[in-house]
Protein backbone atom coordinates (compact mmCIF):
# COMPACT_ATOMS: atom_id res chain seq x y z
CA UNK A 1 0.00 0.00 0.00
CA UNK A 2 1.03 3.64 -0.53
CA UNK A 3 3.30 5.29 2.01
CA UNK A 4 1.51 7.72 4.34
CA UNK A 5 2.34 11.41 4.03
CA UNK A 6 3.84 11.54 7.51
CA UNK A 7 6.12 8.61 6.71
CA UNK A 8 7.25 10.29 3.52
CA UNK A 9 8.14 13.40 5.47
CA UNK A 10 10.03 11.33 8.02
CA UNK A 11 11.98 9.60 5.30
CA UNK A 12 12.76 12.94 3.73
CA UNK A 13 13.96 14.24 7.09
CA UNK A 14 16.12 11.17 7.52
CA UNK A 15 17.72 11.43 4.10
CA UNK A 16 18.50 15.09 4.59
CA UNK A 17 20.02 14.32 7.97
CA UNK A 18 22.15 11.52 6.53
CA UNK A 19 23.41 13.72 3.73
CA UNK A 20 24.21 16.58 6.06
CA UNK A 21 25.79 14.24 8.56
CA UNK A 22 28.08 12.80 5.89
CA UNK A 23 28.99 16.28 4.68
CA UNK A 24 29.88 17.16 8.26
CA UNK A 25 31.99 14.01 8.47
CA UNK A 26 33.86 15.00 5.32
CA UNK A 27 34.60 18.43 6.77
CA UNK A 28 35.73 17.01 10.10
CA UNK A 29 37.90 14.48 8.28
CA UNK A 30 39.52 17.26 6.27
CA UNK A 31 40.10 19.15 9.49
CA UNK A 32 41.79 16.13 11.03
CA UNK A 33 39.17 15.40 13.67
CA UNK A 34 38.39 12.04 12.09
CA UNK A 35 40.94 9.46 10.96
CA UNK A 36 41.24 5.97 9.58
CA UNK A 37 38.99 4.57 6.89
CA UNK A 38 35.77 6.57 6.57
CA UNK A 39 33.16 5.57 3.98
CA UNK A 40 30.38 7.99 3.08
CA UNK A 41 26.83 7.11 2.06
CA UNK A 42 26.06 10.22 0.04
CA UNK A 43 23.94 9.28 -2.97
CA UNK A 44 22.71 6.04 -1.42
CA UNK A 45 20.48 7.60 1.26
CA UNK A 46 17.27 6.18 -0.15
CA UNK A 47 18.36 2.59 0.39
CA UNK A 48 19.00 2.54 4.14
CA UNK A 49 16.22 5.05 4.75
CA UNK A 50 13.56 3.22 2.78
CA UNK A 51 14.60 -0.25 3.90
CA UNK A 52 15.09 0.30 7.62
CA UNK A 53 11.93 2.39 7.93
CA UNK A 54 10.02 -0.75 6.92
CA UNK A 55 11.16 -2.54 10.08
CA UNK A 56 9.83 -2.64 13.61
CA UNK A 57 12.03 -0.99 16.21
CA UNK A 58 13.08 -4.38 17.61
CA UNK A 59 13.94 -6.03 14.32
CA UNK A 60 17.68 -6.32 13.82
CA UNK A 61 19.89 -4.40 11.38
CA UNK A 62 23.46 -5.36 10.53
CA UNK A 63 25.74 -3.83 7.94
CA UNK A 64 29.16 -3.18 6.53
CA UNK A 65 31.82 -0.52 7.09
CA UNK A 66 29.56 2.00 5.32
CA UNK A 67 27.01 2.28 8.10
CA UNK A 68 26.65 5.88 9.27
CA UNK A 69 23.25 6.03 7.60
CA UNK A 70 22.06 2.76 9.05
CA UNK A 71 22.81 3.84 12.60
CA UNK A 72 21.02 7.14 11.99
CA UNK A 73 18.03 5.22 10.63
CA UNK A 74 18.05 3.20 13.83
CA UNK A 75 17.76 6.52 15.71
CA UNK A 76 21.16 6.40 17.36
CA UNK A 77 21.77 10.04 18.40
CA UNK A 78 23.93 11.80 15.77
CA UNK A 79 26.12 13.21 18.52
CA UNK A 80 26.99 9.71 19.76
CA UNK A 81 27.95 8.72 16.24
CA UNK A 82 29.95 11.88 15.56
CA UNK A 83 31.74 11.49 18.89
CA UNK A 84 32.61 7.93 17.88
CA UNK A 85 34.12 9.24 14.66
CA UNK A 86 36.10 11.79 16.66
CA UNK A 87 37.37 8.96 18.83
CA UNK A 88 35.83 10.25 22.04
CA UNK A 89 34.64 8.42 25.13
CA UNK A 90 31.11 9.73 24.50
CA UNK A 91 31.00 7.82 21.22
CA UNK A 92 28.48 5.05 20.73
CA UNK A 93 31.35 2.55 21.09
CA UNK A 94 33.36 4.71 23.51
CA UNK A 95 35.65 5.68 20.63
CA UNK A 96 36.97 2.17 20.23
CA UNK A 97 35.13 1.27 17.06
CA UNK A 98 35.34 4.20 14.71
CA UNK A 99 33.54 4.76 11.43
CA UNK A 100 33.46 1.12 10.37
CA UNK A 101 32.33 -0.29 13.67
CA UNK A 102 29.23 1.50 14.89
CA UNK A 103 27.04 -0.66 17.12
CA UNK A 104 23.97 0.15 19.19
CA UNK A 105 22.69 -2.70 21.30
CA UNK A 106 19.83 -0.64 22.72
CA UNK A 107 18.49 -0.04 19.22
CA UNK A 108 19.00 -3.55 17.85
CA UNK A 109 21.74 -2.38 15.52
CA UNK A 110 24.16 -5.30 15.38
CA UNK A 111 26.97 -3.25 14.01
CA UNK A 112 29.21 -2.38 11.14
CA UNK A 113 31.93 -4.76 10.01
CA UNK A 114 35.05 -4.05 8.00
CA UNK A 115 35.58 -7.40 6.37
CA UNK A 116 33.63 -7.63 3.14
CA UNK A 117 30.89 -10.23 3.63
CA UNK A 118 31.79 -10.72 7.27
CA UNK A 119 28.46 -9.52 8.60
CA UNK A 120 26.37 -11.84 6.44
CA UNK A 121 26.56 -15.06 8.50
CA UNK A 122 26.31 -13.06 11.72
CA UNK A 123 23.00 -11.64 10.55
CA UNK A 124 21.85 -15.15 9.70
CA UNK A 125 22.79 -16.18 13.23
CA UNK A 126 20.63 -13.44 14.69
CA UNK A 127 17.73 -14.70 12.56
CA UNK A 128 18.33 -18.26 13.74
CA UNK A 129 18.26 -16.91 17.27
CA UNK A 130 14.87 -15.24 16.71
CA UNK A 131 13.59 -18.44 15.13
CA UNK A 132 14.74 -20.57 18.05
CA UNK A 133 13.28 -18.12 20.54
CA UNK A 134 9.97 -18.24 18.66
CA UNK A 135 10.04 -14.54 17.92
CA UNK A 136 8.94 -13.14 14.58
CA UNK A 137 11.58 -10.42 14.53
CA UNK A 138 13.48 -10.27 11.26
CA UNK A 139 17.04 -9.32 10.40
CA UNK A 140 17.95 -6.83 7.68
CA UNK A 141 21.38 -7.81 6.41
CA UNK A 142 23.12 -5.19 4.23
CA UNK A 143 25.97 -5.88 1.81
CA UNK A 144 27.49 -4.49 -1.36
CA UNK A 145 27.69 -5.72 -4.93
CA UNK A 146 31.32 -6.65 -4.45
CA UNK A 147 30.52 -8.67 -1.34
CA UNK A 148 28.37 -11.04 -3.37
CA UNK A 149 31.59 -12.61 -4.70
CA UNK A 150 32.85 -13.60 -1.25
CA UNK A 151 32.51 -17.23 -0.26
CA UNK A 152 30.74 -16.40 2.96
CA UNK A 153 27.89 -14.80 0.97
CA UNK A 154 27.25 -18.21 -0.56
CA UNK A 155 27.39 -19.96 2.81
CA UNK A 156 25.13 -17.43 4.50
CA UNK A 157 22.42 -17.57 1.84
CA UNK A 158 22.48 -21.35 1.81
CA UNK A 159 22.06 -21.62 5.57
CA UNK A 160 19.39 -18.93 5.74
CA UNK A 161 17.31 -20.80 3.18
CA UNK A 162 18.05 -24.24 4.57
CA UNK A 163 16.62 -23.17 7.92
CA UNK A 164 14.01 -20.86 6.43
CA UNK A 165 15.10 -17.88 8.50
CA UNK A 166 13.74 -14.34 8.53
CA UNK A 167 16.56 -12.52 6.81
CA UNK A 168 16.14 -9.70 4.34
CA UNK A 169 19.42 -9.54 2.43
CA UNK A 170 19.69 -6.01 1.06
CA UNK A 171 22.34 -5.52 -1.59
CA UNK A 172 23.39 -1.89 -1.92
CA UNK A 173 24.42 -2.24 -5.53
CA UNK A 174 26.34 0.93 -6.32
CA UNK A 175 27.99 -0.89 -9.22
CA UNK A 176 31.50 -0.63 -7.83
CA UNK A 177 33.65 -2.41 -5.28
CA UNK A 178 36.13 0.39 -4.74
CA UNK A 179 37.38 0.77 -8.33
CA UNK A 180 36.13 -2.54 -9.63
CA UNK A 181 33.07 -2.42 -11.84
CA UNK A 182 30.57 -5.14 -10.92
CA UNK A 183 30.83 -6.44 -14.48
CA UNK A 184 34.50 -7.24 -14.01
CA UNK A 185 33.97 -8.88 -10.63
CA UNK A 186 30.80 -10.92 -11.03
CA UNK A 187 30.25 -13.51 -13.72
CA UNK A 188 26.57 -13.04 -13.06
CA UNK A 189 26.10 -9.40 -12.29
CA UNK A 190 22.38 -9.18 -11.85
CA UNK A 191 22.77 -9.74 -8.17
CA UNK A 192 19.11 -10.39 -7.37
CA UNK A 193 19.30 -13.41 -9.65
CA UNK A 194 22.08 -14.93 -7.54
CA UNK A 195 19.38 -15.66 -4.97
CA UNK A 196 17.79 -18.17 -7.32
CA UNK A 197 20.71 -20.55 -6.85
CA UNK A 198 19.52 -20.98 -3.27
CA UNK A 199 15.82 -21.07 -3.91
CA UNK A 200 15.56 -17.60 -2.40
CA UNK A 201 13.23 -15.02 -4.00
CA UNK A 202 15.31 -12.22 -5.51
CA UNK A 203 13.96 -8.73 -6.15
CA UNK A 204 15.35 -5.55 -7.61
CA UNK A 205 14.38 -1.96 -6.87
CA UNK A 206 15.43 1.54 -7.83
CA UNK A 207 17.65 2.48 -4.91
CA UNK A 208 17.37 6.16 -5.80
CA UNK A 209 13.64 6.15 -5.07
CA UNK A 210 13.06 5.97 -1.34
CA UNK A 211 9.33 5.39 -1.67
CA UNK A 212 9.88 2.44 -3.99
CA UNK A 213 12.46 0.98 -1.59
CA UNK A 214 10.11 1.42 1.34
CA UNK A 215 7.17 -0.18 -0.44
CA UNK A 216 9.22 -3.13 -1.63
CA UNK A 217 10.73 -3.65 1.80
CA UNK A 218 7.38 -3.55 3.55
CA UNK A 219 6.32 -6.36 1.25
CA UNK A 220 9.49 -8.39 1.81
CA UNK A 221 9.59 -7.84 5.57
CA UNK A 222 5.99 -9.00 5.80
CA UNK A 223 6.83 -12.06 3.74
CA UNK A 224 9.80 -13.01 5.91
CA UNK A 225 8.10 -12.19 9.17
CA UNK A 226 5.24 -14.48 8.29
CA UNK A 227 7.61 -17.40 7.82
CA UNK A 228 8.34 -17.05 4.12
CA UNK A 229 12.05 -17.39 4.83
CA UNK A 230 14.91 -15.31 3.48
CA UNK A 231 14.59 -12.85 0.62
CA UNK A 232 17.14 -10.82 -1.30
CA UNK A 233 16.65 -7.29 -2.54
CA UNK A 234 19.04 -5.61 -4.94
CA UNK A 235 18.76 -1.84 -4.59
CA UNK A 236 20.52 -0.07 -7.45
CA UNK A 237 22.16 3.13 -6.36
CA UNK A 238 25.31 5.20 -6.65
CA UNK A 239 27.82 6.67 -4.25
CA UNK A 240 28.73 10.20 -5.21
CA UNK A 241 32.03 10.31 -3.33
CA UNK A 242 35.06 8.07 -3.60
CA UNK A 243 35.00 4.68 -1.92
CA UNK A 244 36.43 6.22 1.24
CA UNK A 245 37.78 9.61 2.23
CA UNK A 246 41.14 8.65 0.77
CA UNK A 247 39.78 7.62 -2.65
CA UNK A 248 39.29 10.19 -5.41
CA UNK A 249 37.18 7.77 -7.43
CA UNK A 250 38.94 8.57 -10.72
CA UNK A 251 37.89 5.21 -12.18
CA UNK A 252 34.37 6.48 -12.84
CA UNK A 253 33.44 8.77 -15.72
CA UNK A 254 32.09 12.25 -15.06
CA UNK A 255 29.21 11.49 -17.41
CA UNK A 256 28.21 8.45 -15.37
CA UNK A 257 28.34 10.41 -12.13
CA UNK A 258 26.29 13.22 -13.67
CA UNK A 259 23.66 10.79 -14.86
CA UNK A 260 23.20 9.43 -11.37
CA UNK A 261 23.18 12.82 -9.68
CA UNK A 262 20.17 13.67 -11.83
CA UNK A 263 18.40 10.82 -10.02
CA UNK A 264 19.24 12.19 -6.59
CA UNK A 265 16.75 10.70 -4.09
CA UNK A 266 16.33 13.85 -2.01
CA UNK A 267 15.08 16.33 -4.65
CA UNK A 268 13.08 13.47 -6.14
CA UNK A 269 11.08 12.98 -2.97
CA UNK A 270 10.86 16.74 -2.42
CA UNK A 271 9.34 17.17 -5.85
CA UNK A 272 6.75 14.44 -5.42
CA UNK A 273 5.77 15.65 -1.95
CA UNK A 274 5.42 19.19 -3.21
CA UNK A 275 3.30 18.03 -6.13
CA UNK A 276 1.15 15.96 -3.78
CA UNK A 277 0.83 18.94 -1.50
CA UNK A 278 2.27 17.01 1.40
CA UNK A 279 4.76 19.78 2.16
CA UNK A 280 5.58 23.27 1.01
CA UNK A 281 8.99 24.78 0.31
CA UNK A 282 9.14 26.40 3.72
CA UNK A 283 8.71 23.01 5.37
CA UNK A 284 11.49 21.52 3.30
CA UNK A 285 13.74 24.41 4.15
CA UNK A 286 12.94 23.97 7.83
CA UNK A 287 13.89 20.31 7.61
CA UNK A 288 17.21 21.25 6.06
CA UNK A 289 17.85 23.83 8.77
CA UNK A 290 16.97 21.29 11.42
CA UNK A 291 19.45 18.78 9.96
CA UNK A 292 22.15 21.44 9.75
CA UNK A 293 21.59 22.32 13.38
CA UNK A 294 21.61 18.71 14.56
CA UNK A 295 24.87 17.96 12.76
CA UNK A 296 26.41 21.23 13.91
CA UNK A 297 25.51 20.37 17.48
CA UNK A 298 26.83 16.85 17.05
CA UNK A 299 30.19 18.15 15.85
CA UNK A 300 30.45 20.59 18.71
CA UNK A 301 29.51 17.87 21.17
CA UNK A 302 32.09 15.53 19.68
CA UNK A 303 34.86 18.10 19.70
CA UNK A 304 34.07 19.07 23.29
CA UNK A 305 33.98 15.46 24.43
CA UNK A 306 36.93 13.90 26.26
CA UNK A 307 39.15 11.27 24.69
CA UNK A 308 38.96 7.82 26.28
CA UNK A 309 40.89 7.51 29.54
CA UNK A 310 44.12 5.48 29.33
CA UNK A 311 42.55 2.76 31.49
CA UNK A 312 40.03 2.17 28.70
CA UNK A 313 42.78 0.49 26.70
CA UNK A 314 42.35 -2.78 28.60
CA UNK A 315 38.62 -2.48 29.30
CA UNK A 316 35.84 -4.23 27.36
CA UNK A 317 38.04 -7.07 26.12
CA UNK A 318 36.68 -9.78 28.40
CA UNK A 319 33.69 -9.76 30.70
CA UNK A 320 34.95 -9.23 34.24
CA UNK A 321 34.12 -11.39 37.22
CA UNK A 322 34.78 -14.99 38.20
CA UNK A 323 34.43 -17.54 35.44
CA UNK A 324 33.33 -20.44 37.58
Amino acid sequence: MPIAAADQVNMYRKMVLIRRFEEGVAEAYADGFIGGFTHLYIGQEAVATGAISALNHDDYVIGTYRVHAHALCRETPPRALMAELYGRSTGVCKGKGGSMHFFDASRYFLGGYGIVGGNLPIGVGAALSMHMQQQDRVVMNFFGDGASNQGVFHEALNMAKLWNLGVIFVCENNFYGIGTDVRTSSSFNEIHKKAQGYGIPGHVVNGMDVVAVREKCEELVKFSRQGGGPVLLEARCYRYQGHSMTDAGKYRSVAEAELWRKRDPIPRLAKSMLEAGIVDRARLEAIQQEANAVVEEAMQFAEASPRPAPEALYEDLYVEGPLA
Partner: protein, 322 residues
Protein backbone atom coordinates in the same frame (compact mmCIF):
# COMPACT_ATOMS: atom_id res chain seq x y z
CA UNK B 1 34.84 -42.60 41.52
CA UNK B 2 33.24 -43.89 38.31
CA UNK B 3 35.41 -43.87 35.20
CA UNK B 4 34.27 -42.48 31.87
CA UNK B 5 35.96 -41.68 28.60
CA UNK B 6 37.06 -38.27 27.41
CA UNK B 7 34.38 -38.18 24.70
CA UNK B 8 31.74 -39.20 27.24
CA UNK B 9 32.84 -36.29 29.40
CA UNK B 10 32.01 -34.01 26.46
CA UNK B 11 28.58 -35.62 26.12
CA UNK B 12 27.86 -35.25 29.81
CA UNK B 13 28.96 -31.65 30.05
CA UNK B 14 26.87 -30.74 27.01
CA UNK B 15 23.83 -32.66 28.21
CA UNK B 16 23.97 -31.14 31.69
CA UNK B 17 24.33 -27.60 30.43
CA UNK B 18 21.63 -28.02 27.80
CA UNK B 19 19.27 -29.39 30.44
CA UNK B 20 20.14 -26.53 32.76
CA UNK B 21 19.90 -23.70 30.24
CA UNK B 22 17.39 -23.53 27.40
CA UNK B 23 19.63 -21.06 25.56
CA UNK B 24 22.43 -23.52 25.02
CA UNK B 25 22.39 -25.24 21.64
CA UNK B 26 24.79 -27.11 19.38
CA UNK B 27 25.57 -26.66 15.73
CA UNK B 28 28.13 -28.27 13.47
CA UNK B 29 28.81 -30.89 10.83
CA UNK B 30 27.40 -34.32 11.66
CA UNK B 31 26.80 -33.40 15.30
CA UNK B 32 23.20 -34.58 15.20
CA UNK B 33 22.25 -37.68 13.29
CA UNK B 34 25.77 -39.07 13.39
CA UNK B 35 26.50 -37.86 16.91
CA UNK B 36 29.87 -36.38 16.04
CA UNK B 37 32.87 -37.88 14.29
CA UNK B 38 34.33 -38.64 17.70
CA UNK B 39 30.99 -39.54 19.32
CA UNK B 40 31.19 -36.39 21.43
CA UNK B 41 27.58 -35.35 20.73
CA UNK B 42 26.11 -38.85 20.56
CA UNK B 43 22.58 -39.09 21.88
CA UNK B 44 22.09 -35.35 22.21
CA UNK B 45 19.82 -34.95 19.19
CA UNK B 46 17.63 -37.74 20.53
CA UNK B 47 17.55 -36.06 23.91
CA UNK B 48 17.21 -32.42 22.93
CA UNK B 49 15.81 -32.53 19.42
CA UNK B 50 16.95 -31.24 16.06
CA UNK B 51 16.11 -27.68 17.05
CA UNK B 52 18.90 -27.57 19.63
CA UNK B 53 21.31 -29.98 17.97
CA UNK B 54 21.70 -28.67 14.45
CA UNK B 55 23.45 -30.42 11.61
CA UNK B 56 24.99 -27.86 9.28
CA UNK B 57 26.40 -27.78 5.77
CA UNK B 58 30.17 -27.92 5.35
CA UNK B 59 30.64 -24.19 5.74
CA UNK B 60 32.80 -23.38 8.75
CA UNK B 61 32.89 -19.62 8.23
CA UNK B 62 29.11 -19.52 8.34
CA UNK B 63 28.95 -21.93 11.27
CA UNK B 64 31.07 -19.56 13.35
CA UNK B 65 29.37 -16.45 11.99
CA UNK B 66 25.97 -17.89 12.81
CA UNK B 67 27.17 -18.73 16.32
CA UNK B 68 28.34 -15.13 16.75
CA UNK B 69 24.98 -13.74 15.67
CA UNK B 70 23.12 -16.14 17.93
CA UNK B 71 25.39 -15.32 20.88
CA UNK B 72 24.79 -11.59 20.34
CA UNK B 73 21.04 -12.04 20.51
CA UNK B 74 20.35 -14.16 23.56
CA UNK B 75 21.50 -17.69 22.86
CA UNK B 76 24.58 -19.63 23.98
CA UNK B 77 25.82 -21.59 20.97
CA UNK B 78 28.30 -24.41 21.16
CA UNK B 79 29.69 -24.65 17.64
CA UNK B 80 31.64 -27.76 16.76
CA UNK B 81 34.38 -27.62 14.18
CA UNK B 82 34.65 -31.20 12.97
CA UNK B 83 38.33 -30.63 13.61
CA UNK B 84 40.39 -27.52 14.29
CA UNK B 85 42.03 -27.98 10.89
CA UNK B 86 38.79 -26.80 9.32
CA UNK B 87 38.66 -23.84 11.63
CA UNK B 88 41.39 -22.35 9.45
CA UNK B 89 38.68 -21.82 6.84
CA UNK B 90 36.78 -19.87 9.50
CA UNK B 91 39.81 -18.00 10.85
CA UNK B 92 38.36 -14.64 9.86
CA UNK B 93 35.09 -15.21 11.70
CA UNK B 94 36.92 -16.50 14.78
CA UNK B 95 39.72 -13.95 15.02
CA UNK B 96 38.44 -10.89 13.23
CA UNK B 97 34.84 -11.14 14.38
CA UNK B 98 34.27 -13.28 17.49
CA UNK B 99 37.47 -12.17 19.21
CA UNK B 100 37.05 -8.49 18.40
CA UNK B 101 33.33 -7.74 18.65
CA UNK B 102 33.07 -7.00 22.34
CA UNK B 103 36.10 -4.72 22.42
CA UNK B 104 35.52 -2.79 19.21
CA UNK B 105 31.88 -2.23 20.09
CA UNK B 106 32.88 -0.71 23.40
CA UNK B 107 31.67 -3.57 25.57
CA UNK B 108 28.06 -3.31 24.42
CA UNK B 109 27.72 -6.97 23.61
CA UNK B 110 28.87 -10.26 25.10
CA UNK B 111 29.61 -13.33 23.02
CA UNK B 112 28.81 -16.33 25.20
CA UNK B 113 29.83 -18.90 22.61
CA UNK B 114 32.01 -21.99 22.64
CA UNK B 115 33.88 -23.36 19.64
CA UNK B 116 34.68 -27.02 20.25
CA UNK B 117 37.47 -28.35 18.08
CA UNK B 118 39.15 -31.76 18.05
CA UNK B 119 42.79 -31.30 17.11
CA UNK B 120 46.27 -32.73 17.08
CA UNK B 121 48.26 -35.35 15.24
CA UNK B 122 49.75 -38.71 16.02
CA UNK B 123 47.60 -41.04 13.94
CA UNK B 124 48.91 -40.49 10.41
CA UNK B 125 46.27 -38.00 9.38
CA UNK B 126 48.80 -36.21 7.26
CA UNK B 127 49.83 -32.63 6.61
CA UNK B 128 46.44 -30.96 6.42
CA UNK B 129 44.72 -32.76 9.29
CA UNK B 130 47.21 -32.73 12.16
CA UNK B 131 47.32 -29.16 13.38
CA UNK B 132 48.10 -27.95 16.89
CA UNK B 133 47.78 -24.24 16.21
CA UNK B 134 46.64 -22.93 19.58
CA UNK B 135 49.46 -20.39 19.29
CA UNK B 136 47.55 -18.33 16.70
CA UNK B 137 44.53 -18.02 18.97
CA UNK B 138 46.58 -17.18 22.04
CA UNK B 139 48.31 -14.50 19.99
CA UNK B 140 45.01 -12.83 19.14
CA UNK B 141 43.34 -11.27 22.19
CA UNK B 142 39.63 -11.71 22.79
CA UNK B 143 39.09 -15.45 22.86
CA UNK B 144 39.70 -17.88 25.70
CA UNK B 145 41.73 -20.96 24.80
CA UNK B 146 41.20 -24.20 26.73
CA UNK B 147 42.96 -27.56 26.20
CA UNK B 148 41.91 -30.25 28.69
CA UNK B 149 44.07 -33.33 29.11
CA UNK B 150 41.73 -35.63 31.08
CA UNK B 151 38.02 -36.51 31.21
CA UNK B 152 37.80 -34.83 34.61
CA UNK B 153 39.34 -31.57 33.46
CA UNK B 154 37.36 -31.67 30.24
CA UNK B 155 33.98 -31.94 31.90
CA UNK B 156 34.62 -29.23 34.46
CA UNK B 157 36.19 -26.86 31.97
CA UNK B 158 33.59 -27.38 29.24
CA UNK B 159 30.80 -26.53 31.66
CA UNK B 160 32.69 -23.41 32.64
CA UNK B 161 33.21 -22.56 28.98
CA UNK B 162 29.50 -22.82 28.27
CA UNK B 163 28.74 -20.47 31.17
CA UNK B 164 31.50 -18.07 30.19
CA UNK B 165 30.34 -14.75 28.75
CA UNK B 166 33.33 -14.57 26.40
CA UNK B 167 34.08 -16.61 23.28
CA UNK B 168 35.96 -19.79 24.14
CA UNK B 169 37.98 -22.01 21.83
CA UNK B 170 37.79 -25.44 23.42
CA UNK B 171 40.40 -27.73 21.90
CA UNK B 172 40.00 -31.46 22.49
CA UNK B 173 42.81 -33.81 21.51
CA UNK B 174 41.76 -36.46 19.01
CA UNK B 175 44.01 -39.09 20.56
CA UNK B 176 42.46 -38.64 23.99
CA UNK B 177 38.81 -39.31 23.16
CA UNK B 178 38.98 -42.92 24.26
CA UNK B 179 41.04 -42.26 27.34
CA UNK B 180 39.32 -43.21 30.58
CA UNK B 181 39.41 -41.21 33.78
CA UNK B 182 37.57 -40.70 37.03
CA UNK B 183 34.69 -38.25 36.88
CA UNK B 184 32.33 -37.76 39.83
CA UNK B 185 28.60 -37.99 39.25
CA UNK B 186 28.02 -34.80 41.18
CA UNK B 187 28.21 -31.57 39.24
CA UNK B 188 31.43 -29.57 39.41
CA UNK B 189 33.02 -26.71 37.50
CA UNK B 190 36.68 -25.95 37.02
CA UNK B 191 37.90 -22.36 36.80
CA UNK B 192 39.81 -20.93 33.84
CA UNK B 193 43.31 -19.66 34.56
CA UNK B 194 44.10 -22.21 37.23
CA UNK B 195 46.80 -24.73 36.35
CA UNK B 196 46.77 -28.22 37.81
CA UNK B 197 49.95 -29.78 39.12
CA UNK B 198 49.53 -33.28 37.74
CA UNK B 199 52.63 -34.48 39.50
CA UNK B 200 54.65 -32.65 42.14
CA UNK B 201 58.44 -32.60 42.05
CA UNK B 202 61.33 -30.49 43.23
CA UNK B 203 64.02 -30.76 40.57
CA UNK B 204 62.51 -29.45 37.38
CA UNK B 205 59.21 -27.99 36.18
CA UNK B 206 57.59 -29.33 33.03
CA UNK B 207 54.93 -26.90 31.76
CA UNK B 208 52.50 -28.52 29.35
CA UNK B 209 48.86 -29.05 28.24
CA UNK B 210 46.56 -31.36 26.31
CA UNK B 211 48.02 -34.68 25.12
CA UNK B 212 51.58 -33.70 26.04
CA UNK B 213 50.60 -33.83 29.72
CA UNK B 214 50.61 -37.61 29.43
CA UNK B 215 53.97 -37.67 27.68
CA UNK B 216 55.30 -35.41 30.43
CA UNK B 217 53.99 -37.77 33.11
CA UNK B 218 55.67 -40.68 31.32
CA UNK B 219 58.85 -38.63 31.17
CA UNK B 220 58.57 -37.91 34.89
CA UNK B 221 58.37 -41.65 35.57
CA UNK B 222 61.52 -42.29 33.58
CA UNK B 223 63.30 -39.39 35.27
CA UNK B 224 62.22 -40.61 38.70
CA UNK B 225 64.14 -43.80 38.08
CA UNK B 226 67.20 -41.64 37.63
CA UNK B 227 66.43 -39.81 40.84
CA UNK B 228 65.12 -36.66 39.19
CA UNK B 229 61.79 -35.44 40.54
CA UNK B 230 59.95 -33.54 37.82
CA UNK B 231 56.91 -31.38 38.56
CA UNK B 232 54.31 -31.58 35.79
CA UNK B 233 52.23 -28.41 35.50
CA UNK B 234 49.15 -28.81 33.30
CA UNK B 235 48.13 -25.23 32.53
CA UNK B 236 44.76 -26.41 31.13
CA UNK B 237 43.91 -22.96 29.80
CA UNK B 238 46.34 -20.89 27.70
CA UNK B 239 44.12 -17.80 27.82
CA UNK B 240 43.92 -17.02 30.66
CA UNK B 241 47.32 -18.43 31.59
CA UNK B 242 48.10 -19.27 35.22
CA UNK B 243 51.37 -17.40 35.37
CA UNK B 244 51.59 -17.57 39.15
CA UNK B 245 51.55 -21.35 39.39
CA UNK B 246 54.14 -21.65 36.63
CA UNK B 247 56.47 -19.08 38.16
CA UNK B 248 56.16 -20.32 41.73
CA UNK B 249 56.91 -23.86 40.58
CA UNK B 250 59.97 -22.75 38.63
CA UNK B 251 61.03 -20.58 41.55
CA UNK B 252 61.25 -23.80 43.55
CA UNK B 253 62.82 -26.03 40.89
CA UNK B 254 64.89 -23.34 39.13
CA UNK B 255 64.69 -25.38 35.95
CA UNK B 256 61.93 -25.45 33.35
CA UNK B 257 60.97 -27.38 30.22
CA UNK B 258 57.91 -26.56 28.12
CA UNK B 259 56.36 -29.40 26.16
CA UNK B 260 53.79 -28.79 23.40
CA UNK B 261 52.62 -30.75 20.38
CA UNK B 262 52.55 -27.73 18.07
CA UNK B 263 55.41 -26.44 15.95
CA UNK B 264 58.36 -25.10 17.88
CA UNK B 265 58.83 -21.86 15.97
CA UNK B 266 56.62 -19.20 17.58
CA UNK B 267 54.73 -21.86 19.50
CA UNK B 268 53.10 -21.11 22.84
CA UNK B 269 56.22 -22.59 24.39
CA UNK B 270 58.16 -19.58 23.18
CA UNK B 271 55.79 -17.30 25.07
CA UNK B 272 55.93 -19.26 28.29
CA UNK B 273 59.71 -19.59 28.04
CA UNK B 274 60.03 -15.83 27.55
CA UNK B 275 57.76 -15.09 30.49
CA UNK B 276 59.71 -17.39 32.76
CA UNK B 277 63.02 -15.90 31.77
CA UNK B 278 61.78 -12.33 32.03
CA UNK B 279 60.48 -12.99 35.54
CA UNK B 280 63.06 -15.42 36.91
CA UNK B 281 66.20 -14.72 34.92
CA UNK B 282 68.39 -14.49 38.00
CA UNK B 283 66.81 -17.49 39.71
CA UNK B 284 67.15 -19.92 36.80
CA UNK B 285 69.95 -22.46 36.98
CA UNK B 286 69.78 -23.18 33.25
CA UNK B 287 68.07 -21.93 30.11
CA UNK B 288 64.43 -22.87 29.74
CA UNK B 289 64.06 -25.70 27.22
CA UNK B 290 61.30 -26.17 24.67
CA UNK B 291 60.12 -29.55 23.41
CA UNK B 292 57.82 -29.23 20.41
CA UNK B 293 57.07 -30.56 16.94
CA UNK B 294 59.63 -30.41 14.16
CA UNK B 295 59.07 -27.35 11.97
CA UNK B 296 57.69 -29.29 8.99
CA UNK B 297 54.15 -30.17 7.86
CA UNK B 298 53.18 -33.41 9.60
CA UNK B 299 54.34 -36.28 7.37
CA UNK B 300 52.06 -39.28 6.78
CA UNK B 301 54.57 -42.12 7.11
CA UNK B 302 54.31 -43.47 10.65
CA UNK B 303 58.05 -43.45 11.27
CA UNK B 304 58.41 -39.86 10.07
CA UNK B 305 55.38 -38.69 12.02
CA UNK B 306 56.89 -40.22 15.14
CA UNK B 307 60.07 -38.28 14.46
CA UNK B 308 58.12 -35.08 13.87
CA UNK B 309 56.08 -35.11 17.07
CA UNK B 310 57.46 -34.69 20.58
CA UNK B 311 57.23 -37.53 23.10
CA UNK B 312 58.26 -38.59 26.59
CA UNK B 313 61.79 -39.47 25.54
CA UNK B 314 62.30 -36.08 23.97
CA UNK B 315 61.12 -34.45 27.18
CA UNK B 316 63.51 -36.59 29.19
CA UNK B 317 66.38 -35.57 26.93
CA UNK B 318 65.51 -31.90 27.38
CA UNK B 319 65.43 -32.26 31.15
CA UNK B 320 68.76 -34.07 31.19
CA UNK B 321 70.27 -31.20 29.21
CA UNK B 322 69.73 -28.83 32.13
Amino acid sequence: MPEIRYYEAVQRALAEEMARDERVFILGEDVGLVGGTFRATEGLMAEFGARRVRDTPIAEAAIIGVAIGAAMTGLRPVAELMTLNFGIVAMDQIINHASKARYMFGGQVNLPMVIRAPAGGGTQKGAQHSHSIESWFVNAPGIRVVLPSTPYDLKGLLKTAIRCEDPVLFIEHEMLYNMKGEVPDEEYLLPFGVADIKRPGRDVTIVTWSRMVHEALRAAEILANEGIEAEVVDVRTLDPLDRDTILSSVLRTRRAVIAEEGWRKVGVGAEISSQIQEALFYELEAPVQRVAAADVPTPYASNLEKLALPDAQRIVDAVLKI
